[in-house]
């Protein structure tokens, strides 16, 4: 049997993290009551002039630079015509002739090693509205809240050859764009969607096979299943002539585990692109270009190496921290304030992650003040606040902006150096529990821990454990 090679190119749509839409000032926020975030411009009313949101260009350039693209210093918008009720003007404003970024590359790593995936282009465009089918009236209901929400589309060259590579590529895109705060890239919320172009050819052939496209894939596992199915279908068609492969758009049904040809083939793909005379070309001058260049974050892989080589963190710790920009930012701020590398890393990896897990939040959603965390770490290191109370302070930092020291004072969390008070507590505890005292004197170490715990509880944790332990032993042996 001949061996086959799968050839895959991806078009990835990413919703940009902006406040307003791409060509009008309506809110770009997800959700809201139907048709609440709309105006004559995004409803496609005649006579309205679109005006480009500068932030969209900023983020388009940022994405381009993160993916090693060349930035087109004059970038223009074009009309892509198609007739569908989710597109009120009957054309989508997108970029065809001079997209914001071209000719990039993304490095991925798989079980087969390192590989570079070439990026053909990144263009800025508007999203379409949402359609709801109403069975009762047998009509279609249209919501334009999502119309004109800004997107970038990242078009790869057909350089991917397996589902594993596709997954690695998507994860790399997500990591880079989250780090640069271009988008949250949440597939489950639709802020990252993917069209998969796939063809199959005999290994070693340089001629591409018939290409099919699956649109709007929104989960990584569905993409993996769809690629496996389509590859098998293509090979079956080539080997056994089960069907004639045609270039077409197909819909992936993840429940049935099959792809289906979409109807309306006849009119698909004739988009009649032409320059949109209503949107002025955007010229990116040197100042603008440099401003975006300076704003780029350190790449996660570079950060990880620096954490290990310069700061002496373990690979494990560096790996966890660099999974999210929020964790890195918090760590770097906490370290800058406290000067304590290991403690800063540990507080984030164990304590902060615990709170996030309990609140069912992801690492990206860590939004406590890193500087305050640094101060808290210092309070603990200086013996001013005990561990248990420090965790309570951390918990409070998730809910409000607080100064850890002021908060510790207000809540009585400051460790007391008043040995008179500590002695008083110890004497009372010892007097009330002669059995534990006798057990300890009889050689049971555990009994000392019980007494220690009772004293700590009485003192509400505000005591240097070392001081307490020494005083406790001294008093028992008196």
């Amino acid at each position: 049997m001949a061996k086959y090679e799968t050839v895959i190119g991806l078009e990835v749509h990413i919703e940009l993290a902006t406040n307003s839409k791409i060509f009008c000032s309506c809110s770009a926020k997800f959700g809201g009551e139907q048709n609440d975030h709309v105006c004559p411009a995004c409803c496609g009313m005649p006579g309205m002039l679109p005006v480009v949101n500068k932030r969209v260009v900023d983020l388009g350039m940022t994405a381009g630079m993160m993916l090693n693209c060349d930035i087109n210093r004059v970038t223009t918008f074009d009309k892509k015509s198609y007739y569908y009720p989710d597109l009120p003007a009957a054309y989508q404003t997108t970029q065809w002739f001079a997209p914001v970024a071209v000719n990039g590359k993304v490095r991925i790593e798989t079980s087969k090693g390192e590989k570079f995936i070439r990026i053909k282009q990144i263009h800025m465009e508007e999203d379409a509205g949402k359609l709801v089918h109403d069975d009762w009236t047998d009509t279609t209901l249209v919501d334009f809240n999502r119309t004109s929400v800004p997107l970038i589309e990242i078009v790869s060259q057909p350089d991917l050859n397996s589902a594993e590579e596709v997954v690695a590529y998507l994860e790399q895109l997500r990591s880079l764009l989250r780090f640069a705060k271009v988008s949250e890239c949440r597939m489950e919320q639709g802020s990252m969607r993917c069209d998969v172009n796939l063809s199959v050819r005999p290994e070693g052939s340089d001629k591409l096979g018939v290409r099919t496209e699956m649109k709007n894939m929104n989960s990584i596992s569905a993409i993996e299943r769809a690629i496996a199915y389509e590859t098998a279908r293509h090979i079956d068609a080539i080997e056994n002539g089960t069907e004639e492969l045609v270039q077409e758009t197909r819909r992936w049904d993840d429940i049935k585990g099959m792809s289906f040809a979409m109807r309306n083939k006849e009119t698909a793909g004739d988009y009649r692109y032409f320059p949109d005379p209503n949107v002025m070309p955007v010229c990116i001058d040197d100042e603008w270009f440099e401003r975006i260049k300076k704003s780029l974050p350190e790449l996660p892989s570079v950060k990880k190496d620096r954490y290990i080589d310069e700061l002496g963190l373990s690979e494990y710790d560096a790996d966890i921290l660099t999974q999210s920009r929020a964790l890195c930012d918090c760590f770097e701020e906490a370290y800058a304030v406290s000067g304590l590398v290991k403690e800063s890393a540990n507080w984030i990896i164990s304590n902060c992650m615990n709170v996030l897990n309990r609140k069912q939040l992801t690492a990206d959603m860590l939004n406590i003040d890193g500087k305050a965390l640094g101060k808290l770490i210092l309070l603990v290191a200086d013996g001013k606040v005990g561990h248990a109370n420090a965790k309570k302070i951390l918990e409070a930092m998730f809910d409000e902006d607080i100064d850890p020291e002021a908060y510790a004072n207000e809540n009585g969390y400051i460790v007391s150096n008043d040995t008179g008070k500590i002695e008083g507590v110890i004497r009372a505890v010892v007097a009330a529990d002669p059995k534990s005292v006798a057990d300890y004197k009889g050689g049971k170490e555990k009994a000392l821990m019980a007494l220690f715990g009772k004293c700590m509880k009485e003192l509400k944790g505000n005591c240097d454990p070392q001081v307490l332990r020494e005083l406790l032993i001294k008093i028992i042996n008196e």
């Binding site: 949101n53 089918h133 334009f144 955007v282």
Partner: protein, 97 residues
């Protein structure tokens, strides 16, 4: 130079889900024929040799706005002229997927 003919016009109607009557079709074709003739005369009258292609027809560049949300219209105002609405949605004939 050919800008329009009945085949192209039929295809455009299909793409835009429009149905022109025979007399409307004749009017559109006549209109384009006239336009084509005028464009033809322009291109023969004006020498465009060595003229650089324009990026855009307007001498204005980089009109951008800050990323600020402004709400100027209510849903009711926007839907005032709609033929059919339901529960705040625009309502259109059922689409077959």
């Amino acid at each position: 130079m050919l800008y329009m003919n009945s085949d192209i016009l039929r295809r455009l109607q299909k793409l835009n889900q429009l149905k022109l009557t025979d007399s409307e079709e004749r009017d559109v074709l006549a209109f384009f024929e006239k336009q084509s003739a005028e464009l033809e005369s322009l291109s023969s009258a004006i020498d465009t040799e060595n003229v650089e292609r324009m990026v855009h027809v307007m001498p204005i560049l980089t009109v951008v706005r800050e990323d600020v949300v402004v709400k100027n219209f209510t849903r009711e105002e926007l839907q005032a002229g709609a033929p059919e609405t339901m529960d705040g949605y625009w309502q259109v004939p059922r689409l077959v997927e």
